[in-house]
């Protein structure tokens, strides 16, 4: 029998294991990316130290750069959360790009339709609802097709990106654009205060109060996933749909709901640009942010806290690329971003294996069931996922 003290120690051990397993792999991946970055920088005949110094100075080193990081991280937080909640439910939402655009467009339309004198708080709320609805509708389509017909959400979301973006471009170009441009007129109500309005030090940066909503969304997603019955059921569906079904969960309906929530989160990301920065919808405003959300979710291990951190990381790289443009081509940072993603995808399983065997050598931590290694081809291979989804977190 374990004494109270013993079990407290065990708990601490497990907590350490959990932290190691969630923090170490991304750190290793970053180290690998840094080494690759060094090589690239050397190829361009520059000093890595100098480039990294400028990269940091141009981002976290001054208020403007930091504001830009915050701005970019805000959109990425929303799309990262969108992808993460999908993966938690066992769905791979590649349609954040289209959902983001759709959300931004609807927010712009509502902002345009509202009378100029509408009180800010009401206008913002209405625009937020519109953005969530715009993304949610686009997410609902693959969700419903998956739940009803078993259609692969991967294929449907990819194809919907083309449909949605083409449709929005047509509507803007044919009906609501300002002459000589590809954007809508400026919204009359619902704009988010910029950080530059609050403190002059942020002047010129696109950062705006949408980032507060992104943080609220992250906390909300965390609470939903780990503290509510619906989150319990959603994660069960993602981990083991058969067990969830056994537990009285309607798997199809969870899939449909998860895709709506996922789409709504991505849609809210459009607010950052439309309400916070330019105050109009413009064709291609979110280019890449939806897809980068996949990387954000992957690096953030599908945990809201991880997503926020990963969003900041990718935003830093993106903004840093501009800051070091004088020394190396800004595309180098795009390459670096891709290297980070590949390194994370590779190192997560690899580092976890290494950690597990290190623990075995130390003689602490998890145990291995006797029958583990013999999975036959004819038997059910069990729940497998393309993603390193674990239930760590809460």
């Amino acid at each position: 029998m374990t004494s109270r003290r013993g079990s407290a120690d065990e708990r601490r051990d497990r907590m350490r294991v959990r932290i190691e397993e969630s923090v170490l792999p991304p750190l290793v991946a970053l180290a690998i990316a840094a080494v690759v970055g060094d090589v690239l920088i050397l190829i361009f005949g520059q000093s890595p130290g100098e480039v990294y110094r400028q990269l940091l100075e141009g981002t976290w080193g001054n208020a403007y750069g930091f504001g830009q990081v915050i701005y970019k991280a805000t959109t990425l937080t929303f799309t990262g959360l969108a992808v993460a909640i999908g993966i938690r439910a066992g769905l791979f939402n590649i349609g954040a790009e289209g959902q983001l655009a759709s959300g931004g467009f609807l927010a712009a339309l509502v902002g345009l339709a509202l009378p100029a004198g509408t009180p800010g708080i009401i206008a913002i709320l209405l625009c937020l609802v519109a953005a969530a609805a715009g993304g949610g509708v686009v997410g609902a389509i693959p969700g419903a097709l998956k739940a009803r017909f078993g259609a692969s959400e991967v294929i449907v979301t990819i194809m919907l990106n083309f449909i949605v973006l083409a449709l929005l471009n047509y509507i803007v170009a044919a009906h609501v654009h300002v002459a000589e441009t590809l954007h809508t007129p400026e919204i009359r109500a619902g704009s988010m205060p910029r950080l530059g309005d609050v403190s002059a030090r942020f002047a010129g940066s696109a950062a705006n109060t949408t980032f507060l909503f992104a943080l609220v969304a992250a906390v909300g997603v965390w609470w939903y996933l780990f503290r509510t019955r619906q989150g319990y059921e959603l994660r069960a569906v993602g981990l083991q749909p058969d067990a969830a079904e056994y537990g009285g969960v309607r798997v199809g309906s969870v899939w449909a709901k998860a895709m709506i929530v996922s789409g709504a989160l991505a849609g809210l990301g459009g607010v950052n640009y439309v309400l916070g920065y330019k105050h109009y919808y413009e064709e291609g405003f979110g280019t890449g942010s939806g897809f980068l959300g996949i990387a954000v979710a992957l690096v953030g291990r599908n945990h809201p806290v991880g997503v926020v951190i990963a969003a900041l990381l990718f935003a830093t790289l993106s903004q840093g690329g501009l800051a070091v443009n004088a020394l190396v081509p800004k595309q180098m940072v795009d390459v670096l971003t891709a290297v980070v993603i590949i390194a994370v995808a590779t190192s997560v399983p690899e580092v976890r294996r290494a950690l597990a065997s290190a623990r075995r050598a130390r003689g602490t931590g998890g145990r291995e069931p006797d029958s583990a290694p013999s999975e036959g081809l004819i038997s059910n291979p069990g729940p497998s996922s393309q993603f390193p989804v674990t239930d760590s977190g809460s």
Partner: protein, 540 residues
């Protein structure tokens, strides 16, 4: 040939992290014998045999295998490839066959006979057919593996091992998936192999098998070898005591298994007593004219009707794949029915139809379900013990409309863990790391720890150790004594006979025979299980 040693294992140690699977295990197998390696689940039998077959390198000790000349050669830590080349082959519990290939293609995988650049399938099929005839392992080489029954797939596994030239054949729990006649066929094949000079090592925890087939027995407990004796001198009781390390109540299992009437008469009294004022059984679960489709057939369950009374255990025997899974899924709401009705008694005792209700409302109506596959359905393996202890009841553990009540989940876990003795007693561990027996206790604790009227217990003791089997059987008996209605579905005939007040046999989606528990014996049920009585048994 006999007298010489085929395999000698000394002091093998094998660790998986902190878990010691083998702690100094010994095994000596004579050439040309059938050797039974027995022990509880988790005793380290499979691990030891995987060390022998080259799948795991040992952390200590030596493994020696006879060469063709008969001399022993140390091979500790060899590869599976080397083991196969030396004639040591293992047939696993989980089959390792490619379902989309034919029997012949599966057999030759890795050593295909070629004609020029192309595969010579004609030669392959001829070779396979010859081997099949020689060993008595009959199976058509041109059939797809996905079309085979489990028994046939096992024959292919054995053939595959023999095709690769195995002289020492290791079988891991081979009868777990077979009906009694198939088991008899397997024994015939094994004896034939032995008579041809082959050596067979049989891993099992079923004592009747050990006594039926083996010449020598080695008993393992907790990773160590605790005894070796000739089968002629062994009794089931003595082996069981060695396996567990204490006396086990085998008596009741045996007695009922052979069909003596006494205990069932006792259960009859209990049944009558559980329904005060009524000498007649009160139905708690009623299934009428139920037909259920599967992806393969429109009548996987074919017009089945039965009732389970309060205080009764109805046992469904039968070889797996005869509609039991679909029947259970239909009753619990996991699968749509094509026609027929399902009714469950409500609080007042009146039957209420639930045919169109969903899983959750059936559970709320008092239906508990121990699913046949705990790793797929019964548990979310990544979830903590505490979270698994509320699966299916999660809507009862909320503080508001949606927020989970963590405090109640924790106190529920604490009380279930102590009542059902789940080890280690830590509700925050992921269920994945618990042993099979303790994982099953989580399911049992959840389904039997709450208020219920009807329990569907499917393979409740599959893959759990003897100690846990006793515990689970006691729980089922206790529930029966409390007036619960229990539908027991099991591939283990001994279990069915030990617990059931009535036994039905399912074959081809139909219930082909119903017998009172005290009249059922393996001899009577066996032919029904294989459909031999199919024509005569259409009484239902």
């Amino acid at each position: 040939m006999s007298g010489s040693t085929a395999v000698r294992i000394r002091g093998v140690v094998k660790r998986f992290g902190p878990v010691v699977a083998n702690a100094g295990a010994d095994l000596e197998v004579a050439a040309g014998e059938i050797h039974a390696l027995v022990g509880e689940n988790g005793a380290g039998k499979s691990t030891l045999m995987r060390v022998l077959a080259g799948m795991y390198p040992p952390d200590g000790g030596t493994v020696e295998v006879a060469t063709s000349g008969g001399a022993l050669r140390e091979v500790s830590g060899w590869t599976t490839r080397a083991a196969i080349d030396a004639g040591v082959g293992m047939v696993h519990q989980h089959f390792m066959l490619v379902p989309t290939l034919t029997v012949a293609e599966n057999l030759i995988l890795g050593r295909e006979p070629r004609r020029g650049l192309s595969l010579d399938l004609a030669v392959a099929e001829r070779e396979v057919r010859a081997l099949s005839d020689r060993t008595g392992l009959r199976v058509d080489p041109s059939r797809l593996v996905s079309d085979l029954s489990v028994g046939e797939a096992q024959r292919v596994e054995i053939l595959k091992t023999l095709y690769r030239g195995a002289k020492v054949l290791i079988l891991d729990e081979p009868t777990a998936v077979l009906s009694p006649p198939e088991v008899r066929d397997l024994w015939k094949v094994l004896r034939r192999l032995r008579d041809d000079g082959g050596t067979v090592i049989l891993i099992t925890h079923k004592l009747d098998e050990v006594i039926a087939i083996s010449e020598t027995i080695t008993v393992m407990r907790a990773g160590r070898t605790v005894g070796r004796l000739p089968t002629a001198q062994a009794t089931a009781r003595a082996i069981a005591r060695m396996m567990v390390g204490r006396e086990v109540s085998l008596a009741e299992r045996r007695e009922l298994g052979t069909g003596n009437g006494e205990p069932t008469a006792a259960s009859r009294e209990r049944q009558a007593a559980s329904v005060p004022g009524s000498p007649f059984p009160v139905p708690a679960l009623q299934v009428s004219h139920l037909t259920v489709a599967s992806s393969r057939r429109p009548n996987e369950v074919d017009n089945v009707s039965f009732t389970v009374a309060r205080g009764e255990i109805l046992g469904i025997a039968g070889v797996e794949g005869n509609g039991q899974t679909e029947l259970i899924e239909a009753i619990t709401g996991l699968r749509d029915v094509s026609s027929g009705t399902i009714s469950i008694a409500d609080a007042s005792g009146a039957l209420r139809e639930v045919t169109d209700s969903d899983v959750r409302s059936r559970a709320d109506a008092g239906l508990s379900h121990i699913p046949e596959d705990r790793h797929r359905r019964g548990l979310v393996l990544e979830y903590s013990v505490a979270d698994n202890l509320i699966l299916g009841q999660q809507h009862r553990f909320t503080a508001s409309a949606s927020a989970l009540d963590r405090a109640r989940i924790a106190s529920n876990a604490a009380s279930r863990i102590s009542t059902f003795d789940i080890r280690p007693p830590d509700e925050s561990l992921p269920s994945r790391v618990l042993s099979g027996g303790n994982q099953q206790k989580i399911v049992i604790a959840r389904e039997m720890g709450r208020d219920f009227t009807v329990l569907i217990a499917a393979q409740p003791t599959r893959g759990v150790d003897v100690g846990a089997i006793e515990f689970i059987h006691d729980q089922l008996r206790k529930a029966r004594a409390e007036g619960k209605a229990i539908l027991l579905v099991s591939a283990d005939l001994v279990e069915i006979l030990a617990l059931s007040d009535r036994v039905v046999v399912m074959y081809g989606g139909r219930m082909v025979v119903t017998l009172p528990g005290h009249e059922a014996t393996p001899e009577i049920l066996g032919p029904y299980m294989t459909g031999a009585h199919g024509a005569a048994g259409t009484a239902t």
